[in-house]
């Protein structure tokens, strides 16, 4: 799937902004309904509301009800986007997502913003590092973690045209566009090789892809050839591209703005254990809560920046037999 060019490489824009813009851009179909729980200015669903106010439903601060209402709407043929912060959309409303949406496999897209530690100043209560794990354990749930505006826009378009539940994870922080829309193609469940390499593959998702690119450049200076595979769809994960990467480079480093438990790192370990077991080292939040601070400071504080990926890449290479 390919869209007309909108974003420039290097342009800084939050994935939540691209989400709201994409809802407005692709939301013309009368069957699309967008819901929010009093955070529309933050989740950017307000961008949709501005164009289609009659199909925007504010549910107030009641996320559980919002998800079940979304399910009811979907039983009548609506394509529903329900948005809140990841902490509440996936966290508080987990059981509604599981039973009202997941079990009947209804056409509800959960647009969860403010995921991860880059929420920044709000601190640990709002920095959700659990959503990917719990969402991907729901049978039939697709989990997409876009890393830039290009991926976010394409993910929204793909979700609209996919029949079934999708969890979409967006960030608060303005991040650089890394994908070139001239050549970018998006398919749910397909990873993307961003860079060839022979010593190690960095498998990254979300905003850590930008860090992975920096890390690979750093490694190159030291004579280490690092490949990069960008994974936007954490479920279903692209087992083929992972197995291929494991065969070609013999070791893997995963990089994500997420807990090392349950997210991309876990999904990659699960996949490779069954197809091509090689050393896998995980860069991510080390099973701890976040804290207040500026997003950029926190990325380094929690060990997610390029220098940590570089260090793990060297460790992974040393583990190769």
């Amino acid at each position: 799937m390919k869209l007309q060019k909108k974003y420039e490489i290097g342009q800084k824009i939050a994935t939540r902004e691209a989400y709201g813009d994409a809802l407005a851009e692709f939301g013309a179909d009368e069957s699309i309904v967008v819901m929010d729980a009093d955070l529309s200015k933050s989740t950017k669903t307000a961008n949709f509301k501005k164009v289609y106010p009659e199909r925007f439903i504010n549910c107030g601060i009641a996320e559980g009800n919002m998800i079940s209402v979304a399910a009811g709407l979907a039983t009548t043929g609506k394509t529903v986007f329900a948005s809140s912060f990841a902490m509440f959309a996936a966290g508080r409303a987990f059981e509604q997502v599981r039973n009202s949406v997941g079990y009947p496999h209804l056409n509800v897209k959960i647009g969860a913003t403010h995921a991860g530690i880059t929420v920044g100043e709000d601190g640990a209560t709002h920095q959700c590092n659990e959503d990917i794990s719990i969402m991907r354990t729901i049978p039939g749930m697709v989990v997409i973690n876009p890393g830039d505006a290009v991926e976010a826009r394409a993910a929204v378009y793909a979700a609209i045209h996919y029949d079934g539940p999708v969890y979409l994870r967006f960030g608060r922080l303005a991040v650089p566009v890394v994908n070139d829309e001239e050549t970018f193609e998006f398919e749910i469940g397909k990873g993307m090789k961003l860079r060839e390499g022979k010593d190690v593959t960095i498998v990254s998702t979300g905003i850590c892809t930008a860090e992975a690119i920096k890390a690979a450049e750093e490694l190159e200076k030291e004579g280490i050839s690092a490949a990069i595979v960008n994974i936007h769809t954490i479920k279903p994960i692209d087992k083929e591209i992972l197995a291929q990467a494991a065969k070609e480079t013999g070791c893997i480093v995963t990089a994500e703005e997420y807990n090392v438990i349950g997210g991309l790192g876990s999904a990659v370990c699960e996949a490779l254990a069954e197809t091509c077991p090689v050393p896998v080292l995980r860069v991510g939040v080390n099973d701890c809560f976040g804290k207040s601070g500026k997003a950029a400071e926190l990325i380094d504080e929690f060990g997610l920046s390029a220098r940590f990926i570089v260090a793990k890449a060297k460790e992974a290479i040393a583990l190769k037999k």
């Binding site: 439903i57 107030g60 998800i67 209402v69 009811g72 709407l73 043929g77 039973n99 009947p104």
Partner: protein
């Protein structure tokens, strides 16, 4: 209501009770108390009121019912079977492996089930979503939902109640099975949700309180709901276990299946009542 129609609906309600007990006995598991209490409501809705077609169960313009108290699926399944959505022969497969009749309503596999339910509090929200869709698309279908009184202890019910009033979902009618008992006993002792009528009023609903086994009263309440400018709550004073003497008003029958002897006794009581209606 004309007497002939009333007797007919009473007979159907009795068959729903018999069917529910057959299911629960066959499964050696299930929830008889709350299934027996809502049989009259289901009889009226599915056999007189609702615009539904067993030959076209997914029709976009049909009336809908969400069984928010999904554990009383045996009553809903017996209703749907007698209404022709599937064979009454299936009832004895309830809760069996490979049966479509899952322990709680499953919209993906059971014809006539409008929404999967079972986790308390979620059904009324889903009913709100269906009602909202009707408003958005200017459709004239109506949406019914049935909740337990214990279910009102779930906070989500009140989120949904607020939502329904806010979006003026006057195409939504909620029945509350006010039988006064939940698994752990008397609702006022476990966690008192009363006064139920005043709570719904305060949340912006129109409310009526009726005898949930009186078909005239059920008909009148539904007629009132159709003229309401707000979502409408029918607080139904019901008897948990209604129709089976030893199950009535006993919380012990909330989620326990009868043994063979108890089942025979229950069946003969209901069959005798059915014969008396002829």
């Amino acid at each position: 209501m004309e007497n002939q129609k009333k007797v007919e609906l009473q007979k159907i309600a009795t068959k729903i009770r018999l069917g529910a007990l057959e299911e629960i006995f066959s499964a050696s598991s299930g929830h008889p108390g709350g299934s027996l209490s809502i049989a009259d409501i289901l009889s009226y809705l599915y056999f007189d009121k609702m615009n539904i077609d067993p030959q076209d169960p997914k029709n976009a313009d049909r009336d809908r019912l969400v069984l928010s108290k999904g554990h009383t699926a045996p009553a809903l399944y017996a209703t749907l079977a007698h209404r022709g959505f599937f064979s009454t022969e299936l009832l004895k497969t309830f809760r069996h492996k490979d049966s479509i009749l899952q322990g709680h309503p499953d919209m993906k596999h059971i014809p006539g089930v409008d929404m999967s339910s079972g986790s308390l509090g979620q059904g009324i929200s889903a009913a709100c979503g269906i009602a909202l869709s009707g408003k958005l698309d200017k459709k004239s279908y109506r949406v019914y939902t049935i909740l337990g009184d214990g279910e009102l202890e779930e906070g989500q019910v009140w989120e949904a109640a607020m939502f329904a009033a806010h979006y003026k979902l006057n195409n939504l009618c909620a029945f509350i099975d006010f039988n006064g008992l939940q698994i752990d006993g008397d609702i006022t002792k476990v966690m008192n949700p009363t006064p139920i009528d005043e709570k719904f009023k305060a949340f912006g609903w129109n409310v009526t309180v009726i005898d949930g086994h009186d078909l005239d009263a059920i008909e009148k309440a539904v007629a009132e709901s159709e003229k309401s400018d707000k979502p409408f709550a029918v607080i139904c004073k019901c008897i948990k276990g209604k129709g089976v003497s030893f199950m009535e008003n006993d919380a012990g029958w909330h989620g326990n299946a009868p043994n063979a002897e108890q089942y025979e006794t229950a069946k003969s009581e209901l069959e005798a009542y059915l014969a008396s209606l002829n």
